[in-house]
Symmetry: C2
Subunit: 704 residues, 2 copies
Amino acid sequence: MPKETMPAMPDTHSLNRLFAPRSIALVGAKDRSIWSVASFDNLKRFGFEGPVHLINPKGGTVHGQQAATSCAAVGEPIDAALLMVPEAALPEAMEDLRAANVGGAVILSAGFAETGEEGAERQRRVAALAREAGIRLIGPNCLGFANYVAKSPLWTTPLRRPMPGPTLAIVSQSGAVASQLEQFAYQQRIAVTHLISTGNEADVTIADAIGYLAQQPEPRSIALFLETIRDPAGFRAAVEAANAAGKPVTVLKVGSSEAAAAAAQTHTGSLVGDDSVFDALCRDLGIARVHSLEDLIVTSDLFARLGRIGGRGMSLIAMSGGMCEIALDQAEKEGVTIPRLAPPTLAALRETLPAFATPSNPLDLTGGAMLAPELIASSIAEVAKDPAIDVIGFVFDAPLKDDGRGFARRFVEHVGQGFSAAGKPCLMMSHTFMPVNGYARELADELGMVYSGGGVDGCLRALGHLTRPAALPRPAARQGASPAPAERPTTERAVLDHLARHGVPVVPGPVVGSAAEAVQAAGEMGYPVVLKIASPDIAHKTEAGGVRLNLQDAEAVAAAHDAIFASVRAYKPDAAIDGVIVSPMRRGGVELFAGTMRDPQWGPVLAIGFGGIFVEVLKDVSQRLLPVSEADVLEMLGELRGAPMLDGFRGAPPVDRTAVAKAIVAIGEAALALGHDLLSLEVNPLLVEGSRVEALDGLTNWDK
Amino acid sequence: MPKETMPAMPDTHSLNRLFAPRSIALVGAKDRSIWSVASFDNLKRFGFEGPVHLINPKGGTVHGQQAATSCAAVGEPIDAALLMVPEAALPEAMEDLRAANVGGAVILSAGFAETGEEGAERQRRVAALAREAGIRLIGPNCLGFANYVAKSPLWTTPLRRPMPGPTLAIVSQSGAVASQLEQFAYQQRIAVTHLISTGNEADVTIADAIGYLAQQPEPRSIALFLETIRDPAGFRAAVEAANAAGKPVTVLKVGSSEAAAAAAQTHTGSLVGDDSVFDALCRDLGIARVHSLEDLIVTSDLFARLGRIGGRGMSLIAMSGGMCEIALDQAEKEGVTIPRLAPPTLAALRETLPAFATPSNPLDLTGGAMLAPELIASSIAEVAKDPAIDVIGFVFDAPLKDDGRGFARRFVEHVGQGFSAAGKPCLMMSHTFMPVNGYARELADELGMVYSGGGVDGCLRALGHLTRPAALPRPAARQGASPAPAERPTTERAVLDHLARHGVPVVPGPVVGSAAEAVQAAGEMGYPVVLKIASPDIAHKTEAGGVRLNLQDAEAVAAAHDAIFASVRAYKPDAAIDGVIVSPMRRGGVELFAGTMRDPQWGPVLAIGFGGIFVEVLKDVSQRLLPVSEADVLEMLGELRGAPMLDGFRGAPPVDRTAVAKAIVAIGEAALALGHDLLSLEVNPLLVEGSRVEALDGLTNWDK
């Protein structure tokens, strides 16, 4: 369940002591331990400048250095310790850390919560020990962390040395996946600021790690690999802090498949892991959600180096018509637009590129450009002036070595000149996926250009995320207190009244107590009308014979009133009956539904869609976390596959989307006002015709 | 328009002389030409064993070798010539080739059909010269070809040297894209048999190239990059020949985006380039259609080395839980299933892996497996025995060098042992995209294992194609002769009668000439009924007042009959009226539509879908080329997003899919019988309720 209170901001001081330690202890250091060897080597390779204390109960020489028998025996301050001891030895080790006043520790060992309830209990005990001693913990069941900026790796497999100018932070719940990401980032010469594996998160969660990174100057973007989110409210707050600090978050989260969802469901016995709600959360928070390890790194790297791009229009330049056509197809798929260039741009390009290229977007420079690279910079300058262009993409492979004649290098220099003068975000991308080596990265850095080896396909997928509008800061759901059970709106009439009080337009529907009153009400609202039983005890009105449609005159209304009473009495003799609802019979229009449900992790979620087959067969639904704004709902309407039905389908007047959005925002507010005990509120149908929007029926479900 | 006759099989002899020449001339050889230098170097690098004649009108020494002034002056047989001369000098060069009895030529120059009508005329003249002289032509506007098997590259940019054991042929209309594919294949150490760029295809088309490759022993799979298909019938025949030879075809074809389709449409003024029809063709021919250059190479390479896989069940093994979860999500997306293992398999794995892994699929061996690699081979042997498993995927990065201690190498050796004993297709795939170098490729070759650096994401996408059932060989559409205009079924009645003659179940609907006849017909079929005007001159029956629905009795029928006559007479006084159609009024059931249309490239295409919003709003349509089998239509029904409507939607009885398929097969045959002048035949609705299938209305459109 979501926390009712906002989480405390991360404890920066204690986390900072752990993540940027001035002194380190390797506890369980041994010459024959591959973890000990790797972590000791990492510290040397990174050039950690503080003291590294090796702790081994037997003392002696380890890794060629005198080992202490305990942290306490060191006699100097220790900011962070890497615990490479078996699970059974942990309580004793924690005692030693407390005695030595160590600031924080990484626990490598597995065998805790991931193994079942007994392990979870052991993990809680260790966490409690640490909390009492004021020690922050990473893990257990992780590989540690590496702070590339502070040159402080506490990481137990071999890491590559830090690269200059790091901008990307990587956080992963899985240590093995973190290792793969580090390797892949290095292969693409993407410089990392922090690599953090959080493991079982006995203390420091993924949310804490994000919150810490949001406050560091170096990371300009954060890549996440997630299996589960243990602190939803903290996660949300941390991502918002990262957004506020201008550090976009990119996520690969497992569990998108039915198999994975089913596994999660079985495991938790709840809706935890509902992937569509996580999708909605990503849209809410402006998280870029990707679906492969490669996309995670390529996308988050481009966020780090290019930042968010203010529009979707791209100028695409390549050296062959074939590549232009491939890129055009892929751009459309990713939501990147390749707009037509304005006439002045085309005219200027015609001057610039007289012989060998036809001015257009995408722009095919042909292989001829290799022989006249001086035209590149001027072409880039021209397209950059075009108001429809927000970003420039140049397809070219950075050379991986000096080819002796310097052809490719000279060419890239001209691209770099063009980029420098463009005044807009520019990216050079390889044709296909290829590694980036030191030579290529240095060349790009020297020219101040952004180059990615992610290939046209991967880079366009990334640009699809970079050019998506950022999420607006939004409040967390502020829910009212749930009314006492007796006060809750549970009948159709009560739910519609509750909705009306919150500004939802609701179909007229007085509850009448006699056939005569029914006839009078019908006469006032005009024929034809509908009669429906109003009873807290009748859930399925049609089944109980409690509904009569399309009544054309007074006679029919009076007869229907009495027939409904008779049917319902026969169906359920002891049902309490409030009366009969009389409403105008609506025909035509478009039937929408709008429902809210309480997600066990993320709280109240809004789902909207078209009624009937759209939701039943096609599952054509758009979701957001509450509260929503009008702009959110307009975006949600646009996401529905059935959206063309809003635009005057089969001769009907186009639907007033703003009126619909206002009504749905109000439905969300009505649901929030009912507090945390509300499981779901459903309006079905929400009938729309032109600018008339009306809730025709409403239903609530409650937790207890 | 499709050719009415089957294309001649490729002229293997003359193509063989061109593609596997025993002697080569480089025409226009010059020390200062980058093309000349590159192509001469390529021949040396490949180790071409025959004579290479350098032709320069001035003679002298070129590339350190005596040049001849013409091919004729060489005085020895020349099988193939690479023409690196300007467009203006081509006629003279062709004359020289004819005089020297050269077998075939590559024309590098641009400036032909791709520049407009004048260039196209020049191209036709060159092609005619060549045809007269019996010279086969590649190009113009291409980079040439390289036959790695025969060591004969006629290619004008630098190529990497051939690798051992080549199995993949690459054909591309764009020379620049071909170069990128060659580079990417080399980066992944995928050995190529042939690299062919066809350019403007004045003579040798993509179809000829495929047909040639289908007859060569070395290529085991063909990768295509296509911009346009100039010889549809030949293309189809060539792909079928490749299929018959066991060489699957993988295609990247541009034009999938709306922008590209619009450009193609403007360009050709026709439906050429309708991407959904090309998709249908790919399904018909069992072509794997991919959407990036990387996927083209990774997929076609795995086709070449693993072949088609007989089922979709995969055992997936990785070294971490995180990777297993990522792979599980991705497998489902690509249609690869990760089935549960059978109890005996699980029991055997429990024996094999006592300590560190939980038997399941996917199987997480954990990092612990690095320390006990001998368990790998036995685990693979156990999963291979499971009947649900068709292919085994092991996630591990091949080492790129000897790490000194041989850890990774030893691990891979155990994987290789497991693979050798499995008796099922096995693939080792890298975690993420990574290059494969000579060390890694040699290690894999030595162990007889298939390794791809395409990463889990790319390899699973490829396996999605490899595990799809192969297309069955199918006849080309055999169309009847179109009837003379006067004999054509054009009215609703005539179209329904035509359909009925081909076995399509059609709603009863006699045409009557009087109110009395209408009443009699209605009485025979039972009330309620529908009356509709039968007239060749009334296209929009409802608009003309020519339709009356839901008539309940004789009186209503008689009145409706007369009212229809009156309305239609008023609407169009000179309309010829055949009478009035009387049909039973149908209610309920599911409305499908089935239509055929003549694609300008591919001939008659069948499209089916649900009626109403499904086709109008959602474009939920499945297409195939005609003729179709019942199995095809069953597959098409399954592709519709609305398919759940067939399974007893809202309490209706489930639809008899076989009955629907039979009816739709018959509709296709009815359309084929109407010959080439039929533009379209539409049955809408095809009403289905349980096992009753009925065409309620039919419409044809004709070319001339």
